[in-house]
Symmetry: none
Subunit: 205 residues, 4 copies
DNA sequence: GATGAATGAGATTTCATTCAT
DNA sequence: AATGAATGAAATCTCATTCAT
C-alpha cells in the first residue's frame, strides 16, 4: 500500500539475489523457447519463486527482456570504447575495431541475438529500437564525414544511415542464426567494405 | 481435419466478387488499424458478408494478408520487368530503373508497406520472407558480377546480399513511414550509390 | 417452391440413381471415418453431386444413416424369418437359427456395426433404438415363456429383456470390432447358453 | 503448449474449497442438463468464480466429469469391499452383496448414471471405459470358476464377460432412468439369476 | 518481501442448412 | 432436379496482472 515502495530500487541483498534469479531464469527460457512462448509465471517458477514475485521486480516480461538486452548492449559498448581508445577517431582502424567487437559479441550472445532479431518478430519493437540507436550513431559519423568533405554527394546521410544500420543488424542476425554461414573475418571484411567508414580522402562520386 | 485440397477453383462471378469484397475490406482495415487489431469477423462484416464466408475464401487473416501482399509484389515485378526490357542486363541503367519502380511502388503502397514492415513486427514472418526473396535476387546478381571479375574480393556474396537486401527493405520502410523524410530522387540515388550494381569495370579492392 | 415436392418419393430413374449414389458414398465414408467426421457436403461431393442435392434426398446426415442401418436390419430380419420358417416357434433350434443369422450378418456388416455401436457413441441414439427394438422382441418371448411356466420366477421379464438385449448387442459389437476375438461358433454357443430361449421344461428356480 | 505437468498439488484450503465448488456446481448442472449442454464458463459462473479459474483446476469439462464419475465409482468399490469382507470369496452371498451395493449406489446416484449411460451417448467413451472395467472383473471371476470346473464348457469367458457386463450396466442404466420400473429386490434377484456367480457345483452343460 | 489463487476478456473456426439461379 | 455460395451461432482456453494473506 505504501506508494514509495517501487522507489526502493536495489535495497537488500536478498532483493538483489531474487532479481538476479529472475534474470537468469528468463535468459535461459528465452534462449530455449523464445519470448512469446514463455510466460511470466513460468519464469518465476523456474527461478523458484512465486508468480507474484515477478511483478515485484519487473513491470512485465518485455521490460525484463529489455533489461537483459540493454545490459548486454552496455557491455558491448564498454568493450568497443576500450578497444577504440588508442585509435584515431573515425579512422578505418577504429571502424575495424568497432566491427571486431560486434563480431565477438555476436559469437558470445548468439541466443540473445536470435531472440531479438529472429523468432518471427517477437521482439520487433526492441529490434527497431536497437536499429534506431545504431542508425543515429552512424548518421552522426556520416555527418562528420560530410563536414570533412569525405562523403560522396550522392549519399543522403539519413537514408544511408538507415541502410547501413540495417545492413549491420541484419548481417549480425543472419550470422548468429548459424555461425557456420561465414567466418568472423568474412563478416568483418565485408561489412568494412560496405561501410568504409573513416576513408581519409574524399570519395569520388 | 481439412481433408481435401482447394476444392474451390474460383469459379463463379459471384464467388469472385465476394472474394474481391473481402480483399478490399481487409486492405482498408489493415491499413487503418494494422494486422493484429483486425479480426476475420470484422473483415467479413465490413464486406457485408457473414463471418463464415470469410473461411470459404481464405484460411485465415494471415493468408488473406499474404494474398494482398504477394498480389502487390507481383504487380511490382511485372512493372520492373517491363521497365528493364529495353535495358542492358546487369547495367547501372537497369539498376536505376529497378529502383525507380520500387520508389513508385512505395509511394503508391505506403499503407501496405507500413503494415508489412512496421507495426511492431506484426507480420515479421512475411517481412522476412520478402527479405529473403530480395536477398536471393541480389546474391544472384553479385555472383554474376563475381564471375565477371566485377566484385571486390573483400565482398562475400552471401553476406553482401543480406546486407544490401536489408538496406533496401529498410530504406523503403523508413521512407514509407513518412514520405517527407526524403525525395524520391534522394532515395534512388543513395540506394544506387550503396549498391552500384552493374559497374562495368572491375572494382579495385 | 411447390410444397408437394417432397412427396415425389421415388419418381424418375434419375432421382433413384442420385439417391443411390448418395447412399453408397455415405456408406463408404462412414465406414472409413465414422459418422461425426463426415459432413453432408462431403458425401455429396464424393457422390459427384452438389451440396444442396443432398437435402433433396435426405433430411440430414443422421436420417441418411438411419436409412442405411434400417435397410440392413430389414435384410437381417428377412433372412431370420426365412431361416426359422421350418422350425418350431420359440424352440431352441429356432433360437440357434436366429443367432446364426445374426452372426452371419455381423461378419458381413462389420463396418456398419462398428459405426453404430462403436466410435465413441457417435450414433448412440440409433444404437439405443435398436437395443429397445431387440429388447421388446425378447420381452415378448419371455412373456410367452412365463405364460408357459417356462420362466424361473426370479426372472423379471422386463429386466431380463434389457439384460439379454444388452448382452446380444454388446457381444455383436465386441466381435465386430475384431472378428479374431472369437469364432462364430463360440459366439453362437455362448449366447445360446446365456439366453437359452425355448427351453421346453419349466426351469428350476 | 502445456509444458510442465500438474504443478498444482492441491495445496491450500482456499484452493481445495474452490475445487469443491466447481465440482458441486458441475454435478448439479450436468444432472439437470447433460454434459453437452453445459459449458465450462457456466460451471465457473454457477460456482461464483471466473471462467479462467475453471482451467486452473481441470483440463476441460470432460476431465472434470471423469473426476466426478470415478470419485463416485471409488466410493462404490469401497463399499463393496467393506460389504464382502466377511463373506466367502466367489460365493453366491458375495455376489448378492456386490449387487446390493450396486443397487444402493444406483438409487443414490441416479442423475450421474443417467448422464453417463443416457443422454444420447454424450459420454459414451466414459461409459465404454466403465464397461470394460466391469468386464475385466467379471472375466477374472469366470476364469476362476472355469479353473474350479464350475463353468459350463459352452461359455467362452471373454464373450460371457462382455455379455454379463453389458447386462449389468444396461439394467442399472435402465433402472436409473425410472426407479419405478422395478423394485430394488427385482433388480438384484434377476441379475443374480442371470449371473449366478459362485455356483458351488459344476453346472451341467 | 514473497506468495499463489483468482481474474476475465475475446478471437477463432466449423458445418448443417438455405435459396437464388 | 440440381447447383453451390452464403449463412451465423456458439464454446473454447490463455495468460498478464492483481491483491489478500
Amino acid at each position: 500500500m505504501t506508494a514509495e515502495a517501487p522507489l526502493l530500487k536495489s535495497g537488500s541483498p536478498r532483493r538483489i539475489a531474487t532479481r538476479r534469479r529472475l534474470l537468469d531464469a528468463a535468459t535461459a527460457l528465452f534462449a530455449a523457447r523464445g519470448l512469446h512462448a514463455v510466460t511470466s509465471a513460468e519464469i518465476a517458477r523456474r527461478a523458484g519463486l512465486a508468480t507474484g514475485t515477478f511483478y515485484l521486480h519487473f513491470d512485465d516480461k518485455h521490460q525484463l527482456f529489455r533489461t537483459i538486452v540493454f545490459d548486454a548492449l552496455d557491455s558491448l559498448r564498454a568493450r568497443q570504447d576500450t578497444a577504440s581508445r588508442a585509435l584515431e577517431p573515425d579512422s578505418r582502424a577504429e571502424m575495424r575495431a568497432w566491427l571486431e567487437e560486434i563480431a565477438f559479441f555476436t559469437e558470445e550472445n548468439r541466443d540473445l541475438i536470435r531472440v531479438v532479431f529472429g523468432r518471427g518478430g517477437e521482439s520487433a519493437a526492441l529490434a527497431e529500437e536497437i536499429h534506431e540507436q545504431v542508425a543515429r550513431d552512424i548518421e552522426q559519423r556520416l555527418l562528420r564525414q560530410q563536414a570533412r568533405g569525405a562523403l560522396p554527394v550522392a549519399l543522403h546521410p539519413g537514408i544511408a544511415a538507415q541502410a547501413r544500420a540495417a545492413s549491420l543488424t541484419r548481417v549480425v542476425a543472419w550470422w548468429a542464426h548459424d555461425l557456420r554461414r561465414a567466418t568472423r573475418s568474412e563478416i568483418i571484411e565485408t561489412l568494412l567494405h560496405l561501410d568504409p567508414g573513416g576513408g581519409q580522402n574524399p570519395v569520388p562520386n
